[in-house]
Subunit: 256 residues, 2 copies
Amino acid sequence: MRKREKRRGGRPWPKREQRRDDLALIYGWHAVQAALENPARRIRRLRVTPNGARRLEELGIKLAVAPDIVRPEEIDRALPSDAVHQGVLAEADPLPAPALEDLAPDGIVLVLDQITDPHNVGAILRSAAAFGVSAAVTTARHSPEATGVLAKSASGALERVPIVEVVNLARALDAMKTRGFMVVGLDSTGDTDLATVTLCAPLALVLGAEGKGLRRLTGSLCDQVARLDLPGEIKSLNVSNAAALALYIATTKLRS
Amino acid sequence: MRKREKRRGGRPWPKREQRRDDLALIYGWHAVQAALENPARRIRRLRVTPNGARRLEELGIKLAVAPDIVRPEEIDRALPSDAVHQGVLAEADPLPAPALEDLAPDGIVLVLDQITDPHNVGAILRSAAAFGVSAAVTTARHSPEATGVLAKSASGALERVPIVEVVNLARALDAMKTRGFMVVGLDSTGDTDLATVTLCAPLALVLGAEGKGLRRLTGSLCDQVARLDLPGEIKSLNVSNAAALALYIATTKLRS
C-alpha cells in the first residue's frame, strides 16, 4: 500500500475525498491544463473558480466534462491547507501504466528506488519530461501516489512521462539488462564520477531514496555505481537536484 | 502552538522563548548536527528523544546547552505534522547576517529574486554549499525565514552559506556590478543557453521566483540573461533543480 500524503495544518481530509483512493487529485494550472490536454486522461470532475473558468475559456481546451464553477473555498476544503491550487482542481482516473516489457529499449529511463517524498518525485518527473526521458520505473511499495503534491510538483509531467510500477525492482533491473539497457546507479559512495563514465543508450539511471541512497541489492545489480563530484563542503544534493544534474550529464554525453 | 511547558527542574520556560518569532527551529540530524558544530550558532534549547540522546553521545559533539530528553510526541507537537524530525529539535538564534559590502568579490554568489517556497530555498542552499558558493543574497520581502522546513531541506547548509538579506535587490545588483561581479540572470526567455555563455568570476547567478521568473527590473540589471536549454517537452525545471544545474555548468566553466 502506498502512503497517503499527510495533511498539513491539522484540518482533516474531507470524508468524501478520503474514500477516493482511486482518483488522482490534480490542481494548479500547469498540471490541470496538461491533464485536460491529455487524451489518455479521463477527467471525472473539474472544479474551477469564476476566474479559473474565464482562463479555461481563453485556453480553448475541449472539455469532456462541464466544469463546476465554485468558490475558491470549496477547492481549499478539498485539498491540504498549503495546496496552491490557483482556482482549479480536477479529479481524474489514474493513467494506464505500461508494463516493463512495453518500454522501448531506447534513450534514458529513470529508475526510482523507493524515493518517498512526493515533492521530490514530482520534481524528478518534471525534469524527466524536460530531458526527454522515455519512462520512469518506480517501486510499488515506498513510492508516493501519482496525485496531489506529486502531480503539482510534476507541473504537467505526469501526463508526459509514463510510470512503470514494479513489485520487484531487482527483477526489473535484470530484465532491463537482458533487453540491452546499461544500468547506472547514482550514489555518493559510487566508484567513479558520473561525468567520467562512458555511457550508452538505452540507459537506465537509478536513483536511491533520500538519506539512504541505493539499497544494497539495487547497487549490486547496476553495471556501474557512479557519484556526482561536488567541490563544496556538503557532499550530497537533494535527490531531485541530483536527478536533474545526472540527466544533464547523461543527455550531454549521449549526444556527443 | 506549543503549550507553555514546565522546564526540567520545574522552572517555567522564559517568556521570551515563547514569542518564538526570532528563534530558528532546526530539526533532523543533518541540520541539527551542523548547527551544533557551528560555533557562530547560539543554541537556546535542544530536545532529543532517548534514542537521539544516544546518537548525540556517539557523535561526541561538545554541547553548550544540556539536552532535554523528551518523548518523540513532544517534538511532534512542537512542529508541523509532516515534519520528519528524527528525534531531535534545536531552537537557536538566527545566524548573524553579513552585509552586502562584506561579500568578498570572489567565486560564485547566488541571488534569489523572491523565491518563496522553503523547500526550494532549502534545497538551493544545500546545492550552494555542495558547489562551494560563497553566499546567497535574498530579498527581505517574499523570502521564507531561515527556519523549519527551509533549515531541514538545507540539510546543514544554513550553517555554511552566509545569507545576505537586502531590501532593494536592484540596488544590491548595482553594487555588486560596481564591485566587479558579472551578473547573470537565469530565465526560460533568456537570450543564450547558459552552457554557451563565457562566464567569469566573481559571478552572481540570479534566480527568479517559481512560475514568475525574474522580475523585469532584475532582468534588466543583469549583464546577461541566460536560459537552460532542455531537449524535452517541458521547457522549465523546478527552481532548485535549475539552480543545481546552473551551478554545475558555472563551476565547470569557471574551472576550465
